[in-house]
Assembly symmetry: D2
Homo-oligomer: 417 residues x 4
């Protein structure tokens, strides 16, 4: 191992050509419209629920994404606030933007009503139409739209958690026709290792934490060609996965015991809770709503491991990030299994969320977007069934604490070769 | 003190003549209508809020009181449930009635909607009209109506807390015209002590814990002829009341320090939060929203003490419990100060909530109504501005833990003579 | 019930003649010597243990009782402190005596060593010998000795808890020869009710909270002539006592579930932990180490109730408080069962610990001794096997929160007649 | 950035020649003797203290390290246990070795006494003398000695925390003569980047997590030639470091606010607590007892960053890991500042503690040593004044959660070049 391995460059670094042929105005309208479509089945009361500190009310997501445009674009252009009291309500975590409501008090906002929040959106959208022509705004609008797409996914996962907290288990949408997919054996995509380029470099939009692009040295590895399935998870449970300390990280085992964990979140018997209510699980569909601890323990049980972020990203170079099971429109979303590296579930990697070499956070309040979360979290790659199509990239870095499960999180195995 | 004091009987034991000339049907309709009138200004989202574990959503109060009639009267008469899943949602604490939603999850009930809950009420009310003719139901209906009146008060105090938790401080009703009352000096009502009869005995309704009627031996005492005012509380604060350990019970002092308490709940500067939003305080109005700990410390500071339950009840014998500032209809409620022993604020006594001699809880699930709470709580007497007029009595025993403040709780001083 | 019952005075109010023929010096020496004898089997490490916030290290008890004499007697007489830093360590809760170590940090006091604490005791004892002649000190010395006797009992119960926390279950003393007592049927001591005098009035020492003596009106009742036994408790368990919500106070049931309680503290199988290590239980001995919640639930299960403080005290008038199984010297202590109202176990009453009518706390720091604890606690009467004989009285008011079990707490049933 | 950088190999991979010329028996005796010398100033009570869940009693360290030899070596050779009850007490976290005392109950072990634990050590040492000749044991003995050296450092940091928890601030040793060192300007050691070999490969002992040796690709960087000093930290405080949200990670800022952090652990005014009691700080000495959050915030304030583990390790290649201010014998230890990369303080890196590529944990119970802690922790490199000299290596991976401060933790700045 002490000689330099003869390295082969992975294919020439290249981001998939921007499929985005829409104008900025068209994109702005499309994103903003989708948010409201996702919230359309919600009553004012539904949209007010906050079921845990990690989650936010749907109403809050609708307002906070609007506050982002109002604060970082319209305010800079001299526009008056829609309501001077609202920034206190709808700032998320930007210290530079002043005091804000305690995170776990967002669920107390029965006022403003959902209708008033929609008025706020219309008001800001009208003002934004004028700003979209301004070249100085293009970059921030791109950030604002990517930000809103993130909140679209959170809106779905947060309302799913809230509805699950209701013993009646109400559905947001009618269930889709049940298609049971065929189980497929796992294949392995081999990668020769060597020096790979990682991180974003391209003409379009990416979050600051995705760069700078840089080189890493990889050892040969293989990545499974599909996600782990519900049926495989059932086997893990049946073979005592949740009762075998040796499979678990120390923190993970403590978490299992403290929370009496014995299945993925949302599982109950043969069913699981979905945005279309309680439904039978498809054994061949990807398992979802698992923590990093569970993913890591499963991989140990399966004699494999989780991929690193760099491995995943190197393997994904050239793949189409807009492929697979991702969100195109409002309606029931659920992992079904597809051949793409992207979609269905975010995939836990064994890499901590830390800065890429020479990373610098953006200046000003928007610099709080990513960098300040670089402790205690793991990177997830890919995209989920609830990720708006077009939002993710190979270099995209989603991140959560290792005990979090309310996102559509799954796993793809890796192994050394 | 070792000789028997020559005792003088207080006036012959007597409950005020029942002012209630309404028929049971009329009373049923009046109570049920008032609940809905109180909730009328609430949106579905407002009615879904639960701001702390002690409180419940307005929607829940409306449904729970209905569940009570459905469970203890209609079910006994063979009626089917409106919805078989709802008892799980709307049982409060009756162990004999089976499993129920965790108390602090009541705030997740965006479904059923407020409109569906009102349908439930209409459905049960229609069925109840037939039951009200049945003499076998009279007693339980009386209990159900008293129960609903208790929840009317809780509905008001709970929604007050929820709206206060919203940084916008929304108002339920328009503020009443501000009338500043004149401060009055405290007079003292003397009582000679001796043997007094305490507890309920009468033809009408009373809760089981109010009886049996029994005799107690009192020493001479005096009771203030009015409640402590906001102005007096300001003086307590100004003289360091919240910083002087010697005035406080040990638990109270720990509570002050742990919660950084320095004023009654809902105070901020010169204002306080009311059901009509943030308003200036009237210095001459009774102070409200104080804990037992605060009441006890204030009394120590004032060189007086809190009355015992028996003293208060003996002094109230013959007074009209339907007098004073109590709730007659939907609209802003607030303590204003009146000459009555009843109304404005519930009054902390220094008596723990414990069984009267020879108390027996009722049989069956309704026996869980009172007796099982007989530890850790203090008795409050009188009634508040949010208590439906006609609900309280001299023998009425309200009770809360000594740190609770979200009810309209105040104090009336007592002293030995 | 509304006529005045024809009342019969209980026997003329009388405290048992003071059996105490010892001089103050002799009493001082006896008490101080006993404390050290109780601690004699402890290593420095044993004496440093604090196993929970309610408990204190043995070393701390030895020092704190000494601090009491040094502070309230020697300092008043102008004596210098043994060590100026120690009051911070050994003040318990006297706010008037300044800042002090956080209660749960008492277990960090490996220094001063046990030997140094014994030096401190010797130093203060020498100085006290001179003060004991001063008539001005008599009352405070009496308080100081009673205070030290309380801490003798706490020293035993605290070290019992600490040793039990050690998986090795070490013993403080060799076990006494096992004498299994014969079970006895419960007899009932009837009391006619009427006006009784309660509270202390006498020439000797009593705590401020035991007075003033005053009259109460009792209804006829009966008190069991012995304590509830281990065998009876086994039956309670066998019949589902810990699984039957209907038997429990609401707070008690929550406590059972939150702490997974299914037996008295210190029970394991057929054994229980004692100051002589793990030993088989004697079925006929009084059950001990139960909470108020358990006592109350047991009484409900047995179709009886707990006595009130006044009933117990009225029944004890004339009984010899120095009788029964109490502490005479260092050595294993355990409830064995005796015919006395006093001894074996402190007996939970259903009375909250609240002020007697016209109670006034003493002036100055010693006024913090009792009055400030008058919320959230229940009164226990009698004395236990760990109470120094001569310490208790009929009017004695021991008090603890209803969930506390580490004292020798048991129960004596009562019923209405 | 997309071309492969022309890389220059760092110096040929090489571990410093083993300075260890001692035989295994000599090393065994030296390590075991040092543990007892460190504990020599402790009383039985001192050695029993556990001041927080992260820490363990000194007595426990002495016994646990002995349990390690008894369990993994003597038991395998058929030896009987010294005491069959003790494994329950002295197993740390090896799930495969069965149930064990709850971590935070270790402080209840007044028994066995310190003297008994020393007997246990003597007993095991005698048996080990025979095992040390057995070649089959060499590897496990090496692990056991490295393990004991880790616990020597923990013994010192744990007892430091315990003594600091005592308001008297007792000293373990007399203070050394105060030498104030001269402040030195920071120089920067530049590294050209390129492919570097990281991880252990050598003939001697290393922990499993230090390997396998592998290559990483580094960008050019510079490392400060000394640690950050107390004086520099004073400047950070003076310029509002602890009050400026923008400097902190989000978790770090929450930690600062929740714990009201405003200085390193053990600081008070101009003094800090040391194993020789409270002493004035030397401004030119390295700052110590800081969390990762503080280190990261300081680096941001200083316009620099923390090094990665790989950078630090690459820079340390060729340096003597046995140099600098490390532990040679019992006596006061404190950071003083030295020119070595090693010693004084463990240095936080911005690298999470995660497996090196192709890492495999050892088989059996000793496989629980490292791998199961690979979540939620950051790597620290170097060694501290409390690290036994000879214990650390360039590849050594110390790791703690980012909020931990009771170790001798400091920081060395890095920057991009």
């Amino acid at each position: 191992m002490d000689q330099i391995r003869s390295v082969r460059l992975a294919e020439p670094p290249r981001e998939p050509a921007a499929v985005d042929t829409l104008s900025l105005v068209e994109r702005y309208r499309a994103v903003r419209t989708l948010s409201e479509a996702l919230a359309a089945p919600l009553s004012d009361a539904d949209a007010t629920l906050q079921s845990m500190e990690d989650a936010s009310p749907a109403k809050w997501h609708l307002a906070h994404t609007t506050w982002f445009f109002e604060t970082f674009i319209l305010r800079e252009r001299g526009a008056a606030r829609f309501d001077d009291d609202w920034p206190f309500l709808f700032n998320s975590y930007y210290e530079a933007e002043g005091e804000r409501i305690a995170r776990f008090s967002r669920g107390m906002l029965s006022r403003p009503s959902l209708a008033q929040v929609l008025d706020y959106r219309a008001h800001v959208d009208a003002a934004m139409e004028r700003a979209l022509d301004d070249p100085a705004c293009v970059e921030l609008v791109g950030l604002g739209l990517a930000h809103e797409q993130q909140h679209q996914e959170l809106l779905l996962t947060d309302i799913k958690h809230a509805l699950w907290s209701n013993p009646l288990g109400p559905a947001l949408w009618s269930p889709p026709p049940l298609e049971t997919t065929e189980p497929v054996a796992t294949g392995w995509i081999e990668h020769p290792g060597g020096i790979a380029s990682i991180g974003y470099a391209g003409p379009g939009f990416a979050f600051d934490c995705e760069g700078p692009r840089h080189q890493v040295l990889l050892q040969p590895f293989a990545l499974a060609d599909r996600l782990v399935t519900n049926a495989e998870w059932d086997a893990f449970i049946a073979q005592g996965g949740y009762r075998t300390a040796a499979l678990w990280l120390s923190d993970g085992w403590a978490w299992v015991k403290a929370n009496d964990v014995h299945a993925p979140l949302y599982w109950s018997g043969e069913d699981h809770f979905t945005l279309a209510g309680w439904l039978p699980r498809d054994p061949a569909a990807p398992v979802s709503h698992i923590s990093y601890y569970e993913a890591d323990a499963f991989a140990a049980w399966a004699g494999a491991r989780l991929p690193t972020e760099a491995e995943w990203e190197a393997a994904a170079r050239g793949a189409d990030p807009a492929s697979g099971n991702q969100l195109d429109s409002a309606g029931p979303v659920a992992p079904v299994g597809s051949a793409s590296l992207f979609g269905d579930c975010w995939q836990w990697t064994r890499s901590a969320y830390l800065p890429h070499p020479r990373f610098k956070a953006a200046e000003g309040a928007v610099g709080e977007y990513n960098g300040k979360f670089m402790s205690g979290q793991f990177v997830l790659k890919g995209a989920s069934c609830a990720t708006p199509r077009g939002h993710s990239r190979a270099s995209y870095r989603n991140f959560f604490q290792p005990d979090k499960r309310w996102q559509f999180t799954g796993l793809r195995l890796a192994k050394d070769i």
